[in-house]
């Protein structure tokens, strides 16, 4: 895979920002979309647009075929055997809330425990807090050790037959840590807990095989993997989804409706009330084709390589603190760091002045920031189109930060 060639597929990258060529290193927040995706969405809107599942007319059938085709493609990407367990949502956040609401509120009660980790994104924390507030269950968290990985001995200790849910990210959006989901699942299942895995930072970057992770729910999002915003997904074990209450009520999720009660549609439609994000699903479908075509081995190798280069180059700077694993093989393609006590918002602003876009802030992970003892960090996150010269531009811009504040 040649990132220089990949770049050419992403028109947004070719612009000047504050008088400098744009260097986009905020892929952890959202990736860009290749021309293929932009063109396909435009084509869909111009030729096939219609609502899905409801119409007998030709456009309705075309839209439905494309929408369901996206589901089939996504199922293949995730290695799941069928599409019944695959629910389209608007985001990973909505997916996690769906589980916490529709499963959590009916399965948790006083005395139960929800086990999360200190490295969760707010979406995998607050959604469980809401469920606990309504049910009287309590939240505990597996600590992160000094190397930025989960303390598995503490996990063993915290896990008990009170534990009903283990909610954990596949890849941390701050530390980049890749968590041992298969091991976590095996242990959780031994005490009868279900495992909810947040794959928002994993699916865009590595081949995913849900059956081998053995979790019970897996959430993801399109906008970090070349698809538009407004489309996410939740995979769940079919027998769990079957017996769950719905999340939202409305059109599409019902079989029949009377004034005082309804019967529900089969899964996954039971969980897809109302008009779903149709053109977004079409975009996701094309994005999956695009990424498949680059090859998942090649994508992962590229990210390991550029992350290693970034870690090496950053280490040249004095007074740099890197958070999370420093072995590129063991982490996703991102690096969180602080430099010289300069506040990340100052770093972010100065870098932007040089055309370099990074994320500066708490990354929706305030408990983790507290654990690391910082208010915020800088994060450079890479994708298929980033090159060594992007990393060089980052390091040069950081040098000028140090000069300005030194």
């Amino acid at each position: 895979m040649d990132p220089q060639a990949v770049r050419k597929d992403f028109p947004v990258l070719f612009q000047q920002v504050n008088g400098h060529p744009l260097v986009y290193l905020d892929n952890g927040a959202t990736s860009h979309r290749p021309l293929a995706v932009i063109d396909e969405i435009k084509r869909f809107e111009e030729e096939d647009n219609s609502n899905v599942h409801r119409s007998v007319h030709t456009l309705g059938q075309r839209a439905t075929e494309l929408f369901e085709g996206a589901r089939t493609k996504l199922a293949a990407l995730l290695g799941v055997p069928g599409t019944n367990g695959l629910i389209f949502t608007k985001s990973a956040t909505e997916s996690l809330n769906l589980v916490a609401y529709a499963w959590g509120r009916h399965h948790l009660s006083e005395g139960d425990e929800v086990l999360i980790t200190e490295m969760e994104h707010h979406s995998n924390i607050v959604s469980w807090q809401l469920a606990c507030k309504d049910t009287g269950a309590v939240i505990k968290a597996v600590p992160v050790d000094d190397n930025g990985v989960l303390d598995m001995a503490e996990y063993d200790r915290l896990l008990s037959n009170k534990t009903k849910v283990v909610a954990v990210c596949h890849v941390s959006n701050v530390l980049g840590t890749i968590n041992p989901i298969a091991e976590i699942s095996a242990k959780a299942h031994r005490v009868g807990a279900i495992v909810v895995c947040d794959g928002a930072q994993a699916v865009p970057h590595m081949a995913i095989d849900i059956p081998s992770l053995d979790c019970d729910f897996y959430a993801g999002t399109g906008h970090k993997m070349c698809a538009p915003t407004g489309i996410g997904f939740l995979w769940g074990r079919e027998h769990i989804l079957e017996e769950m209450e719905p999340f939202h009520g409305g059109g599409d999720m019902i079989l029949d409706v009377w004034i005082d009660h309804s019967s529900y549609n089969e899964i996954p439609y039971k969980f897809e009330a109302g008009t779903p994000p149709i053109s977004q699903a079409v975009g996701l479908s094309t994005a999956i084709d695009y990424l498949n075509n680059l090859g998942w081995e090649a994508i992962r190798r590229h990210e390991i390589e550029i992350t290693r280069y970034a870690l090496d180059r950053l280490a040249e700077l004095p007074d740099i603190t890197v958070y999370g694993p420093t072995d590129a093989e063991l982490k996703g393609g991102l690096v969180s760091f602080n430099i010289d006590d300069i506040h990340p918002h100052d770093v972010g602003t100065i870098l932007d002045g040089k055309g370099v876009a990074i994320r500066a802030g708490h990354h929706c992970a305030k408990p983790l920031m507290r654990k690391l003892g910082v208010g915020a960090t800088n994060r450079a996150s890479f994708y298929i189109y980033n090159t060594h010269s992007d990393v060089d531009a980052l390091v040069d811009a950081l040098e000028s930060c140090r000069k300005m504040f030194g």
Binding site: I342, H343, P344, H345, T349, I350, G375, A376, M404, F405
Partner: protein, 147 residues
């Protein structure tokens, strides 16, 4: 680079590196802790008020250069002003940051250096943190003392 130099003026960097009045005031008449959840900037502001006048101002805090320099500059300006003058200055400063024509720009003096922040909408909150905390503190003080 010129926009950046406009933002990070030497006065601002100077106040950030060597903040003025950065100390806790024991038993201050006004003490408020406020933060800016977006950035994680935070300050504790201490104000002593005697006979309707600001007699002493101190702060503790951490955060970006803009938030900390702005509070530091504020503490220098407020000392000795009457409450009414101090509130007026705070409001003039806020107007400037929000891009409105300030009535009395001369009163701002050094604070004009913060004008460059206007171009960075997400940073305006940082510059206003200390000033909003002060205005809030005065309000609380007035309510307590029936001014």
């Amino acid at each position: 680079m010129s926009d950046l130099e406009d933002l990070y003026k030497e006065v601002i960097l100077d106040h950030y590196r060597t903040p003025r009045n950065r100390a806790k005031i024991e038993n201050a008449d006004v003490h408020l802790h406020r933060d800016n959840p977006l950035c994680g900037d935070e300050i504790d502001l201490y104000v002593d008020i005697e006979d309707g006048r600001v007699t002493n101002v101190g702060f503790e805090g951490r955060g970006c250069s803009i938030s900390q320099a702005s509070v530091s500059m504020m503490t220098e300006k407020l000392k000795g002003l009457s409450i009414a003058e101090a509130e007026e200055l705070a409001n003039t400063f806020k107007s400037m940051m929000q891009g409105e024509a300030a009535e009395d720009e001369d009163a701002l003096g050094d604070l004009l250096a913060l004008q460059g922040v206007q171009k960075y909408p997400v940073r305006i909150k940082c510059a206003l943190l200390g000033w909003n905390t002060f205005l809030e503190g005065v309000k609380v003080h007035n309510e307590k003392h029936g001014a």
